[in-house]
């Protein structure tokens, strides 16, 4: 096809948006709502995941050693721990440090500590942070195989709750997003079908005068793409405004931030590029493909 032909078809697509503005507006609204629902669900999911990640960070596993373990062995064990794949941080916590810390936290029982004299009843330990909290069980099992270990303290219950929460959240959010994508596609396809149906005579005439299927579909494709593009832009603006308002409200909730951590809420400024691309490209693609699929039914004349 010649360049002038492509230009004509693109122009037709642009003109059709205005000529069929009621239908275009209906498609625009459906696309906008669908994009918003899917977009906000995805953003909510990422934030909740980030908050869970923030809580995870605060948890540590403490490995206590037998009282008679010498410094050499402790160092050796320390490097073994660092070499383990799921361990991100290993900090030595000597029994002297632990004793000082305990004394500081129980200052009112000073008499009790005096009675112990120089005798330190505590043991040396390593404070460990893991990369993936889901695998904490197997990591601890591996640590247990090392020598001289007195005991291990791990936040099993808390970890289990977090892991379960994230699994449930992944499934629920996944199901919501999938359902919304399917529902959106069905509604968009029907709206476009109505738009194509309204112009079935035009399509028939085109077929009778020898138009190819591609020639007929192309303007609908462009029309859908333009509608989708604008719906994507509008969804982006709305999401930005709503998201920033919600983040502003949350930033004033000091008690909440203490639990979830300040950095756990993703700022819009950090994600605006992928969100913009997803909305605009996603909107244009869904609009274009929805239109192209719907023309198929009326094209067989």
């Amino acid at each position: 096809m010649k360049v002038s032909g492509v230009r004509y078809l693109v122009q037709q697509g642009v003109d059709n948006v205005w000529k069929n503005r009621m239908m275009a507006f209906a498609s625009f609204c459906v696309l906008l709502v669908s994009l918003l629902l899917v977009g906000i669900s995805v953003l909510a999911y990422y934030n909740v995941n980030s908050i869970i990640g923030g809580i995870e960070e605060k948890n540590e596993v403490i490995v206590y050693f037998n009282d008679n373990t010498d410094d050499e062995t402790l160092k050796e064990i320390g490097s073994k721990l660092r070499a383990m794949p799921n361990i991100s941080e290993v900090v030595f916590y000597s029994k002297e440090e632990a004793y000082e810390s305990l004394k500081a936290s129980m200052a009112e029982y000073e008499v009790l500590f005096d009675s112990l004299g120089d005798d330190n009843p505590l043991v040396d330990a390593y404070r460990i942070k893991v990369n993936n909290i889901d695998e904490i069980q197997s990591t601890i099992a591996e640590i247990r195989k090392l020598d001289n270990i007195y005991s291990i303290r791990a936040p099993y219950d808390f970890v289990n709750i977090l892991v379960q929460l994230r699994t449930i959240l992944t499934w629920v959010m996944g199901a919501i997003i999938l359902a919304m994508v399917i529902v959106s596609m069905v509604i968009i396809s029907n709206t476009t079908k109505a738009s194509v149906y309204a112009r079935r005579e035009e399509i028939q005439i085109m077929k009778y005068v020898g138009a190819t299927d591609a020639f007929i579909r192309f303007p609908f494709f462009i029309e859908g793409m333009i509608t989708g593009f604008f719906a994507g832009c509008m969804a982006l603006v709305i999401t930005w405004l709503v998201y920033d308002s919600v983040v502003n409200i949350l930033q004033n909730q000091v008690a909440l931030l203490n639990i979830i951590g300040m950095g756990s809420i993703i700022r819009f400024a950090d994600i605006y590029i992928p969100v913009t691309v997803a909305y605009v490209v996603g909107g244009a693609l869904v609009g274009a493909i929805g239109s192209a699929i719907s023309t198929r039914r009326y094209i067989n004349v």
Partner: protein, 227 residues
Amino acid sequence: MVELKDVSVTYASGVDALNHVSLKINDGDFAFVVGSSGAGKSTMIKLLLKEIDATEGVVIVNGYNLRKLRRRKIPELRRTIGIVFQDFRLIPSMTVYENIAFVLRVIDAPYKYIRKRVPYVISLVGLQAKANSFPHELSGGEMQRVAIARALVNDPKLIIADEPTGNIDPELSYEIVELLKGINACGTTILMVTHEHDLVRHFGGRIINITQGEIVFDEILGGADEG
């Protein structure tokens, strides 16, 4: 050229629309196809446009054997045929000029050619003053003239006119047939389907009568206007 060799069409419902029909219309001919409704006239048009396929027999249109014609080649066939409908089928959102130019755009004709050819065809049907009017601003006769111009603009070998006078005033019907006769005089084959016997009697020429899916009459008669 149109050739039907022993063609039958049976619809899925079991209705025999055409029954062993054989027919040949040579290049440059003008033929009226007459018959009551349900006789098989519309089926024949659908067959020639490859909207449907023959159950039996061979259909050849402008050198294309329709049985062997692949689906993606149908636009190529249709570009050699101009079609005029009873209900005009103009695109309401387009002006007269755009309705006609549209056909040339479909076949990707050069822009310069479109600008030259469309006004020429509009002048042939005598609608220069209405070039920028929309279909709803035209009378029935004018709309049919636009439809004829649209069928003609691509310089087709064959024009199929399906009851072109069915929706217009009787006195204007003669004008429309005169116009088609004029186009035929320039070498285009015309197949005009009608049930207006007065019109057929007036103009005469080749008359093909289809009744219950069979050709019962195929003769050349002298018209009243020749007398």
